[in-house]
Symmetry: none
Subunit: 289 residues, 4 copies
């Protein structure tokens, strides 16, 4: 009896934590989402220097509240799942563990504050919750377009990398170390900065020849940006075409013609003519009979 | 009699101020548009240091002329409108008030010059006038494309933000405070600067690992820019097509529900329910009768 | 007799200078194109400091040779054209004059070297020559797409400007003069630099609030870039559609039906049915007869 | 006998080196690809200052192993190919030679370390191997779209260059040498940096007029980027459509020529010439008979 009761209790908790169909399940997801976002904001603010003392205290206690909640949630997840080992070593299991543990470690080992930034990984937990919300639904078409574009974008990125390495080597030879092109990897880094039109300006060519090559790289980068855009644009247009059927306003009509009044374009699932009200199937029987 | 006369006088003024159909109404709009633009230019120039004294004098007197005109206009708008309170607390009512008041406050309270920059908000008044011009007509298609793209662009911006926070945290851990990555919020700011290919260069990675991650962020940003472009491009192409109605498969359905069987999505020109064959109009009569 | 002879001589020269149909006319255009490009390169190199003395001498004498050639060409253009006054005050007439005169002025007036840079305007002369070459042919479709996009791009630019002015004013209020946002016009300039994703970094926000606003501006700019791209992309796709008729593989077929065998979709210039071999016109005569 | 045996040995080696159909041939390609990438990474790392001594030793010995492998490969390629001279002076022959020789030269001539960077050109060898892999297959459509866009992109780049030269000259005149616009070529370089939205910030306008012009250049650059994107997007969409056959106006014509009248471009299913009405098949029989 106790086992079954326990099971019931477990099943209920499982539904609350892992599913979002019930009102309590939804509430749990919203609270979790809020706590994750709050904790990420806490982690971010914590790194700011020069805040007043009470702010650090507030962040510290807030952090403990969130960590304790996450600890209970982590234990609950292990308890209610069928195969705990499978959950623990899954992607989200590891993320959950890494989201919870840093504060305990920093409490035991002084000076391990660097670990605290690991808590920003909590943001990845957001994806688990969002998976069950409607926002992902919006991005389906986008995901499809991106998935279809992947092989082409891979070829494109490979081309960008090869151009960067060759141009980076040339820039290293032309500009040399005085201009900031300290080594070929740094030159390649600069080339990527330039090709992608980011252009920090921490390293910039000084010699006329280097500036000429830089200008060529920039114009290439300017032209190259057209390629992924064109790809995604074309794939997206393509992906959008047959999806119109999923549109709530979309109704598929067929070429069937009513034998009584001749009206066409009936809905696929129509049983009666929308114009004269006679059965669409009776007429077919008469014809065949 | 006086009341009616007053009313006539009010109606006329109302037509001049709020409508642009009459020649005087158009002239009023053009003068108002010119004064707004002029006053915004005045506000901008005023902040430049090192102008000759007479320039400041000119700006000062010009500003008074415009403010007095705006004051009269504001009073006229209150007087001629039916429900003054509704106007005063409307978006444009508040903008109008904020456009007029700063100079008076700076006259009474010395040292409140910061308030004067609020006058730049006058620019928002331009939209009210432009609403009645033909330029907005041009942008209808654009607005439609943007409105249709909104949910996808929201998903996209959310993705950009999550990438920025995670990459920003990593950059903070890798580069540290010596390289200018002073805190996670600053790192996230830097990530947005880099992802959007702006690249100020006030903060730039120095360590090899940081530069490698920066290169990955840049190439991602370069690829990501293709997404909104593809979306808008596809939506815009779609928005430009009223052709879908010419599509042989296209039939417009409405939200009317059959009173007999509850079937929805009937063709616009349907007279009988396509599900149960009963008249769609008879049912309405029965309901109303 | 002399008048006619003179006329002949003039007509020939006119054909050489203004037209490119004859071999000599083509040769003249190519020489002129080469000299213009050479002279623009000369003007550019001249401004470089630290060249050896002989290089300046070479540029100086080269410049004189080109100027004398341009002088003769200018006189020849005036002499051979029917209405010299119309040419002199035309766009290209003024450009030609400005291309020729600076060296003479700098010869007479010492210290007027600034004027010499005006010679870079010679580059505009290239367009006259290119007008008669095939390259412009290539850009017809492009020009059409751009022309059709113009009103939309105007609305777009207007929106960019208004966003820049409002965001610039806000940045001026938030950051203030210490961060480099010296005046509202400078702030607006910085906003345009940021919105267009150029990002020089000579001015960059320092305060957290300023950086937040900057991040919002950047993401807006990143999204906004999608708009003109989508417009041009859609217009270009549209512009490219009816051009398929110029495709060498394209054959226009009509809806004419053969009266003998009923075959349809004959080529527009077909005289006989491609299915049964009977004349397409005879049948028409029979029908009409 | 020995000659034939030698030939067999050669043919086998030729198949291994030049083809990828056999398992050994594939293995050879993979090893070569790995060695090329490894050697390029070695060349890049080598230029980094401040590595520990053993790292330089490792790179040095690794470099010798790779160079010796490349030497044998180079000799093998010469030996097994039919016309060695044709290979040696081909593009890839020269690349192979330049990939192998630098280490030997630096061994003989001390101080010729600059030459070592030439080894980065080994990366170009990657293309030869990739030519026989499936990745290029993915990029066929991309290549087609780019090839079709070429003339338009050429016109576009020419326009960018002319805008840069004219705007660069104006910036030189407005800003002058104090602001970093040292000469017209440097100004033109800055214009390209700005137009392509790279924006290093090593040179930036300081005067109000210069900033105004810079803002105009940026907005132009922002608008111009739409052009190549639109072109590639449209071409790519076109390249992806074999749909044109569904077009009701589309009729496939072939290159068959009528033997009676010489008319070409008959419909694929044509039996009679559309010009003279004679059978298209009879004529073929007569010719063959």
């Amino acid at each position: 009896m106790k086992g079954i009761k326990n099971n019931n209790w477990r099943t209920k908790l499982h539904d609350i934590i892992y599913e979002a169909d019930t009102p309590i399940g939804k509430l749990f997801d919203i609270i979790l989402l809020a706590l994750i976002l709050l904790s990420v904001i806490f982690v971010m603010i914590e790194t700011i220097r020069g805040l007043p003392g009470w702010a650090y205290d507030l962040l510290y206690y807030g952090e403990w509240v969130i960590t304790i909640f996450f600890t209970f949630e982590y234990i609950a997840r292990i308890v209610t799942v069928k195969k705990p080992s499978k959950y623990i070593f899954s992607f989200y299991g590891i993320i959950d563990f890494l989201s919870t543990i840093p504060l305990y470690i920093s409490f035991i080992l002084a000076g391990s504050n660097v670990l605290l930034a690991v808590r920003a990984l909590r943001l990845l937990r957001v994806f688990r919750i969002l998976k069950i919300t409607r926002y992902i639904g919006e991005s389906n078409k986008l995901t499809k377009a991106l998935k279809d574009s992947r092989p082409k974008i891979f070829v494109f990125l490979f081309a960008v990398l090869i151009i960067s390495i060759i141009a980076g080597t040339l820039m290293y030879l032309i500009e040399g170390e005085e201009s900031g092109f300290k080594s070929i990897p740094v030159s390649v880094y600069w080339c990527i900065v330039t090709l992608t039109t980011v252009g920090f300006g921490d390293i910039a060519p000084v010699t006329p020849l280097g500036q000429l090559l830089a200008a060529i790289i920039m114009i290439m980068g300017y032209g190259i940006i057209a390629v992924p855009t064109g790809i995604v644009s074309a794939e997206y247009t393509k992906a959008g075409k047959p999806l119109q059927k999923d549109d709530p306003e979309y109704v598929h009509v067929n070429s069937q013609v009513c034998y009584h009044c001749g009206a066409a374009k009936h809905r696929d699932d129509a049983e009666f003519c929308h114009k004269c009200g006679n059965s669409l199937f009776e007429q077919e029987d008469e014809t065949s009979g």
